[in-house]
Symmetry: C2
């Protein structure tokens, strides 16, 4: 297993040098989030993930979770690591101070989330799901619910889940069958079966708080008849402590391609007591609050996968001696050169590096927008908030789908760099590939993200949603129009950007004639958008690096490497967008022409 080292230097570059988190936090009133504090938290998170979380990643995969008679046992070391996680106060970091949180910014929490995901995807999902449950209760629960459930969830002694999927419906939640019948005391009895419930049952916490969507009898059909409920595994006493067992049980756990150390559960509700949150029949809208945050969390997993695989592949590529460089012997004393001399090995490593670092910048940027979108008016004005929300809405599906697809590609490169050894479990490279494939599926598949982007967001807003981010990118290009050294980055952004605009307009026209053009173009369109978006962040990073170099200092190798990696991205990754553009251009006719019965003979 590659030894995990948290990318502290790069995280600081992104947060502090690229995105001025200091100024950002001061403006939003996060007085505790000083640069020193940010540094200290990042350093501690690095230590914890390197020393406690990473070492149980491979063993967790091998051992997996086990189910016995409704109870799930996590792999060796998970319980202890989770305990340390709670004792270290990690769950409380960005939570509301009124419920025991530290009130630090969301974006700071996002930064360390990458470390956790990178060190151990399965482990990171347990607290990850709690955040979703917490955010939902905080946004839509009554004061009573908040007082009962939030302190324990914030503390981490209880964990949460999101129970959406049923055997016959995942994407199409309107088809759900779980029913919620009202009791005399105003609570509800929930009956039904949910599947794919990550962290649905385990031995890490004293209670599990399920956020469940269900239908109240008599509600409208489809997605307009979905309500949202809190259903705890153990009922809660008046004193707020764990009481008797609720009628919620774990029927089984799934055997999966990866994330074996995270329990993916079938959860049965047999008249379980639940509490309505939000308004009746408005459950799906309440879920959207959570879903956007969850999607950014999954996008972070894509970055984490690229980073983890890069670390493993880089160490191996420096160490493994095989063949001589085509341009002359580089290691005359050895029997062969280290494989990092070979251009194709470098192509794979730099693909991983440019996706990990570019993705890290995109995630950090988006997490600052989340800070802004959560900030009270006064700290930010209406226009700033609206702009942040618009950018978030646009870029969340791009980040989720693009970064997870590229994350998967990067883990595949990681296996390739190791050659046959990459296929052997011992090295840990194949686990990364297996683990990260889930990120292309859950919280909405790549296809669903692409429809969200193109149909719901862009065409649904008649392109309005593109404006704030488009204006930001244009302003950057204009600002740097006279900067000779930036032209290798600015010019492609302008060209690809203008093609993006034309592509979008053309698609809008075609979609009016034939709505299937949207679905036919969506994934290629999203990938194009992803390559272009990351190009913008690479250009911004190159700019900062140029300024730092111009200012002098002793970190020039780091900044030089940044500029060189930016160059690689523009020359060897961004051009892929051309292939996607050609596919979009060719429309959907060829994919709709076949009759269902004619796919196979």
């Amino acid at each position: 297993m590659p030894e995990y080292k948290a990318p502290i230097r790069d995280m600081k570059f992104v947060m502090q040098e690229l995105l001025n988190c200091d100024r950002h936090y001061q403006k939003l009133g996060y007085e505790d989030a000083s640069l020193d504090m940010v540094d200290a938290i990042i350093a501690e998170a690095a230590k914890f993930t390197e020393q406690v979380v990473a070492p149980i990643n491979q063993s967790g995969d091998e051992q997996g979770c086990t189910w016995h008679d409704g109870e799930v046992t996590t792999p060796d070391g998970f319980k202890e690591a989770y305990q340390q996680y709670v004792e270290g106060g990690w769950p409380t970091l960005a939570q509301n101070v009124d419920f025991g949180g530290q009130g630090l910014p969301h974006s700071l929490n996002t930064a360390i989330t990458e470390f956790f995901s990178c060190a151990n995807h399965s482990f990171a999902m347990y607290p990850g799901l709690s955040h979703g449950a917490l955010a939902t209760i905080e946004a839509h629960g009554s004061d009573t619910h908040k007082n009962i459930f939030m302190p324990k969830l914030v503390e981490g002694s209880w964990t949460g889940t999101m129970c959406l999927t049923e055997p016959h419906c995942g994407t199409d939640l309107g088809m759900l069958r779980t029913k919620a019948e009202i009791n005399d005391d105003g609570s509800y009895s929930l009956t039904g079966t949910k599947i794919f419930i990550s962290a649905g049952e385990h031995d890490l916490s004293d209670n599990i708080v399920h956020i469940v969507i269900a239908r109240i009898p008599g509600s409208p059909e489809g997605s307009r008849g979905i309500s949202l409920f809190i259903v705890p595994k153990f009922n809660v006493t008046d004193a707020g402590e764990v009481g008797d067992r609720n009628a919620v049980s774990c029927g089984s756990i799934e055997h999966k391609m990866g994330i074996n150390a995270n329990a993916t559960c079938v959860i049965n509700f047999d008249g379980a007591k639940g509490y309505l949150i939000g308004e009746v029949n408005r459950g799906l809208n309440c879920m959207f609050t959570f879903m956007n945050a969850a999607r950014l969390g999954v996008a972070t997993e894509g970055v984490a996968a690229a980073e983890a695989s890069f670390q493993g592949a880089l160490a191996y590529a420096k160490d493994r001696l095989q063949m001589r460089s085509l341009s002359g012997v580089k290691n005359p004393e050895g029997p062969a050169d280290a494989i990092i001399v070979h251009p194709d090995v470098r192509r794979m490593l730099l693909t991983q590096k440019s996706i990990a670092e570019g993705g890290r910048a995109l995630i950090a940027y988006l997490s600052q927008l989340v800070d802004v979108s959560h900030a009270p008016i006064g700290k930010v004005d209406e226009a700033e908030k609206a702009s942040a929300e618009s950018k978030l809405a646009l870029l969340t599906p791009v980040a989720k789908a693009f970064l997870t697809e590229l994350g998967l590609e990067c883990t595949s490169h990681g296996v390739q760099v190791f050659g046959g050894h990459g296929y052997i479990k011992e090295w840990g490279m194949e686990q990364l590939m297996r683990d990260t494939k889930i990120s292309c599926l859950y919280e909405g598949t790549t296809g669903i993200q692409a429809l969200d982007l193109l149909a719901r967001k862009i065409l649904g807003s008649k392109g309005e949603i593109l404006k704030p981010f488009g204006a930001e990118v244009t302003a950057f290009c204009v600002e740097n129009a006279g900067n000779e050294a930036m032209q290798e980055f600015i010019q492609p952004i302008m060209t690809f950007g203008s093609d993006w605009q034309k592509m979008t307009e053309t698609l809008g026209m075609k979609a009016m004639q034939n709505p299937d053009e949207i679905g036919g173009a969506s994934v290629d369109y999203l990938m194009y958008s992803g390559y272009l978006t990351l190009a913008y962040f690479w250009a911004k990073m190159a700019k900062v690096a140029q300024e730092k170099l111009a200012a002098g200092g002793d970190d020039s190798a780091f900044y030089q490497a940044k500029i060189k990696t930016a160059r690689f991205y523009f020359q060897r990754i961004l051009p892929r967008a051309n292939g996607h553009a050609s596919c979009v251009e060719n429309g959907c006719d060829s994919m709709m022409a076949l009759d269902v019965d004619d796919f196979s003979f």
Copy 2:
């Protein structure tokens, strides 16, 4: 697990209608390979793989091979299935009649190999490795060796392996350490450790015949000092039967991402008795005979993976109801439409279908070239033979790398079509992805194939190697220049083909200045070549389908689907080559610029 149905109709289309196997076999003197015989063998192979081989695929993955005290036990059912395989005479199909073979054409065996790989990748590898050992002994062994080893290998009661890799060398075989010391009787004693030996030890056969590369003390350093040996697990008595145990043992088996039912062994040679085949120090050249055949076998695995995943995804896409079509309700009686109505699901299915069918055509074409390359002068003339060998040399690395990379992509689409269910082992879709990743690694990684194509084959021949295949493609375009209905296929081939030529010339020039330009371009160049090559076969298939439709008959839906799939390939797959071309064009500077120490800080 998706139920496997061998694609009989499509295999017949490719072999008979596209490639006129009847005429081909008659010309080469395969009198037994009549159309009726071909049909019968394909039908029997379909039955056997569907009923015997496919049913132990998923259970084989779950159970895996087990190692105990040097002995490997294959999963339940493998021994029985292998026995039936032997009893059915399957190993003998294309083998030399002098040693008990049926003497049928290689290309016929290749066709059914796809069925075996598709039904069960792990199972298919056991006989697959025997073919390699057999081919090597037949080509380079003495008559004595042939008489001792071939009959049992042909029969299948013994199996074979290829022992190349050692812990410190895979690609760079010149570094090998296994030594072979001559004995008084002219045999050799082999000492060393080989790793990644597929089918190196198992319980399916009475003996295992290892083909081993080793160094005779005093031989030149590097790849010029490698000799080739036959080393049986059990020594062979004068009567040609299994005798006492040789000093060959299986030290352990690997725990892998996939192909769990095939034993990947560490094989220790502790002064094991072996027999030199071929000339001293010419072992690597002898291996090349085998390696090209093995690479085509692996390319077939890519096609098989695409086909298997397509079958699973198609069945699910027709069955799973989720959401309504964007262009209006298609299943008004149901709660939702089948997901096959959604354009993006079709994009994934058609990607799988076009790669499986296009790849099948390419493999069938290449396997006919193998027939020609094996044919005696008289049946074919020198020029035909040289042309076939040139095309094979050119297209083998393309088929191996391109079809396995696309095969992997197709299995990933298969998982996506299933959504979250694709990640669950029960459905079998994730196994396909895990199993097929090995095909991008063994018998030379994608990167190695790309170097073989661009450096060794194309630039090494100063482009000569491109001529025979280039002339064939050009002739096809010229032939169809006046065919209006073919222009949607012919025009892109001419455009992409002419760009290919320019790209190759430019690369040749750049490589003279800087050899790293070869490695920097190689994989993108290979992928471009792959997309274009498959376009040619899709155009040829479209042509045949047009002719069949024009001739009338009752199979018009099949031919219409062929043309529509060709159209999809040209509109939605081929354009990806544009992205690769842009990457090639941008050269290798950006990937060579970083110092080794500056990849990470």
